[in-house]
Symmetry: C2
């Protein structure tokens, strides 16, 4: 079983990396089309578990203990396979 | 219109950050459940475009020019909204 965890900065938190990427895209000729860029992390966990519910509970614990800084980041968890 | 670009290291490329995270999860008591960890980037682009096909073409160009290092990374693009 696989868990895909997307971690992104909360709205309102300055996204330096996104801003820099936006600026770089502007200078590469994408100024007209790009309105905003935000950059987050995608964490793909391969799990030893057959129960989707308990797997999700474990992944929530991992997010709160390590994978996300919940002061400034939001996360969402998707269990697949 | 929004584009979500997931950029991940290709299979076979050493994922340092994933390895370190895996080790940290092991020490936090998730040794039994976690088999593997891979870490990638998720880039969320807000686009000025109404045509999904042309938007996707532009995002492919962005990936090849800037967002992904296609020597060692794979990307996938999802157009939403």
């Amino acid at each position: 079983m696989k868990a895909i965890v997307n971690v992104a900065l909360k709205q309102g938190v300055l996204d330096d990396q996104g801003k820099a990427t936006h600026h770089a895209l502007d200078t590469l000729g994408f100024k007209e089309i790009v309105k905003d860029v935000r950059i987050g992390k995608q964490i793909i966990l391969e799990l030893n578990s057959s129960d989707e519910k308990s797997a999700k509970e474990e992944v929530v614990k991992m997010c709160q203990k390590l994978l996300a800084n919940t002061v400034i980041e939001d996360y969402d968890i998707e269990i697949v396979g």
